[in-house]
């Protein structure tokens, strides 16, 4: 007994102070500045994975796959615009700026989206001729910074998207760091090369919904009431924000939940501000329904859309379309393991690379470096995006047919059940195996 080694418990690292937290503290202590990064929230929050479709049964007849039609065409902006946007698929490409993305990446997105019959969106920094030229339907963002905003481009747009907020940072502005400011980016933004370019968090010439109504009037007058006007909001108070956007005269509301990507924002903002995408939809749909505007003012949902199942679930909960940012970049080649050695050199690994603001993207997508961006072949990358969009559409159609729907927009909440109590409460869908919607019905 005397010689026996005393038994010890295995060392325990605290849950509160795990390795990542400790590395965060060391980083903050050594640099004195918060972490800025791209991408969306990395923490797990209740999401579409926590919902399931029920499929058909005795009381619901499925449609024959490959034989019976399940339509996917949608129209956006039918409320006031003379020329609403007609799309073949209910998946659009979200606003991502030239500046954040290379010219090649923007071209690839235009090519892929157009081939798949959908729209793409400019971003903070204005409209480039490549993007306009390669996009059959282009939405022009109207942002607080107004970088590159001009009436000639406005008149070339197929729709205008007034950006009030983004899911990654509701209430936050933006920052394009000096190292990404090439001559061209600087010129488009009327600023000297190499300096940090801040994007304001509030619009310079309006505040609040009453002003927004007048701003929308002005934009309609400039564009002759021809093109739709979208209002994009971050997932903060979706019920009130949707209500106010509709009252201000929006044709389309774009709602971006907290998992939504960004080009560059403080990590603390991305992870701690805003509501999960899943929790944003029903309050927004309720606002539309209460004003008699559901399907009249269209709702585009974004923030963590990855698969055809996500698309189908978003539509079933009441959205008219979805929008993708991060997923589109991955389709082009972002975070591809084939660049692993280079990711390692940057101190990261494929799948985790998020320093999109630093301009050193090995895949040539989130950079302005001519050598890196030349790695992306816009035709090939565009083809990949087209394939991906088509796969998602086929998947959503497959689910819709199995639920007996001849149009993808006929999917409804009744087609779903929830896997967790949280998801049931957020999406207002009964917990699987029960009739229980927490907060709505008795157990």
């Amino acid at each position: 007994m005397a010689n026996e080694k005393k038994p010890m418990t295995t060392p325990v690292k605290p849950w509160t102070f795990d390795d990542h937290t400790n590395s965060y503290i060391r980083r903050a202590a050594s640099t004195g500045i918060y972490d800025i990064r791209g991408g969306g929230a990395k923490r797990r929050v209740p999401h579409f994975d926590d919902l399931l479709f029920l499929g058909a049964s005795m009381s619901r007849y499925p449609l024959e796959g490959y034989r019976e039609k399940c339509e996917t065409k949608i129209k956006l902006g039918t409320r006031f615009a003379k020329n609403p946007i007609e799309l073949d698929i209910p998946i659009t490409i979200a606003g991502m700026s030239f500046g954040a993305l290379s010219g090649q990446a923007k071209e690839a997105i235009g090519r892929g989206a157009s081939a798949a019959g959908t729209s793409t969106t400019t971003g903070d920094g204005g409209m480039t001729p490549e993007e306009r030229g390669h996009s059959t339907k282009l939405v022009y963002q109207y942002l607080p910074s107004r970088y590159g905003m001009n009436p000639n481009d406005l008149r070339k747009a197929d729709a205008i998207e007034i950006v009030v907020g983004q899911g990654a940072k509701p209430g936050g502005g933006g920052m394009l760091l000096g190292q990404k400011i090439s001559d061209r980016v600087a010129e488009m933004r009327n600023l000297p090369k190499g300096i940090d370019q801040r994007s304001a968090c509030r619009h310079p010439d309006w505040t609040g919904p009453d002003d927004l109504e007048i701003k929308i009037l002005e934009l309609r007058e400039i564009t002759g009431w021809k093109i739709p006007i979208y209002v994009k909001i971050g997932g903060a108070r979706p019920y009130f924000d949707t209500t106010l956007a509709i009252k201000a005269g929006a044709d389309v509301v774009v709602l971006d939940g907290m998992q939504g990507g960004t080009a560059a924002t403080q990590d603390v903002f991305i992870e701690h501000v805003g509501q999960p995408t899943l929790a944003c939809i029903r309050p927004a749909v309720k606002a539309l329904q209460e004003l008699g505007m559901h399907r009249k003012v269209q709702l585009i949902l974004s923030g963590g859309i990855r698969t055809g199942a996500d698309v189908a679930k978003a539509l079933a909960l009441g959205a008219d379309a979805v929008s993708i940012g991060t997923a589109a970049l991955i389709a082009l080649g972002d975070n591809d393991p084939k660049w692993e050695k280079e990711y390692n050199k940057l101190g990261t690994t494929a799948g985790a690379y998020d320093d999109w603001h630093e301009g050193q993207d090995p895949a040539g997508i989130t950079t302005q470096d001519p050598e890196l961006s030349a790695r992306l072949d816009p035709e090939l990358a565009g083809r990949r995006l087209e394939n991906y969009l088509k796969v998602m559409t086929l998947e959503a159609q497959t689910i819709a047919r199995a639920c007996g729907k001849n149009h993808i927009l006929n999917l409804e909440p009744e087609d779903l059940c929830a896997l967790t109590i949280e998801a049931a409460a957020m999406a207002e869908i009964p917990l699987s195996g029960t009739n229980w919607i927490p907060g709505k019905t008795e157990i």
Partner: protein, 227 residues
């Protein structure tokens, strides 16, 4: 002279007729009567028209103007000439908030006073205010010139980039990273030219120039309190 009466024509008819004029139009002279504070009057014009608005207007008068010369015989609401590209606009009365916001070019002259945030985020426009301007004017101003014959309110030129500010009167306070700068011959030339073009009776020697100290151009933790 073409005349549009907003008592009998709609805003849409007004803007449509003005927007339809091409660069080479013969119908250059236009007059708008009974504006009665309506919003978005004469927005998105894209031809060298001479337009006289007889009365006061609401928000965003002359928004995104290109080429047109517009005179308002009255006062204007918020956001006059927002994002103006070119041309010139003359306001005989006062202007509300955000006058000339994000303007890229052209000349905006305000005979009276301008309220807060005059020239906010300006990107190349020239603005001459014969009276005073309110607080936070030229906030994040990127380029262009703001000339003020009267006084400026608090936090002038906060977070300024490369816009130049020429003030004759008192400045209540300067915003973060805005400092007084030396008036060099090239600045006197710019100022004299703008005074002449905007019909201002003032002496260049009475003005001070303010601009960016450029300390906040690249993030530095030691300046965190100023951001």
């Amino acid at each position: 002279m073409e005349k549009i009466d907003l008592a009998t024509s709609s805003l849409r008819e007004l803007n449509e007729r003005l927007q339809q004029q091409s660069e080479v139009t013969n119908e250059k002279q236009w007059e708008v009567v009974n504006p009665k504070g309506a919003h978005a009057i004469a927005v998105g014009l894209n031809a060298p028209l001479e337009l006289l608005i007889k009365g006061s207007t609401g928000y965003y008068c002359a928004g995104m103007n290109q080429h047109a010369q517009i005179t308002v015989q009255g006062s204007v609401g918020p956001g006059v000439c927002e994002n103006m590209m070119s041309g010139s606009v003359f306001i005989e009365g006062d202007a509300s908030q955000y006058a000339g916001a994000t303007g890229h070019g052209g000349l905006l002259t305000i005979k009276g006073n301008a309220a807060s945030r005059c020239g906010i985020s300006m990107k190349g426009i020239n603005i001459v205010v014969h009276g005073n301007i309110g607080h936070m004017s030229a906030f994040m101003g990127q380029s262009g010139n703001l000339v003020v014959l009267g006084n400026a309110g608090d936090a002038l030129g906060d977070s300024l980039y490369e816009a130049r500010l020429f003030i004759r009167g008192k400045v209540s306070s300067l915003g973060a990273d805005c400092i007084e700068k030396e008036m060099r011959p090239e600045h006197r030339e710019i100022l004299q030219d703008l005074l002449t073009k905007s019909g201002a009776d003032a002496n260049v020697a009475d003005f001070k120039r303010y601009g960016s100290a450029r300390k906040l151009y690249n993030f530095d933790i030691d300046n965190a309190g100023d951001y």
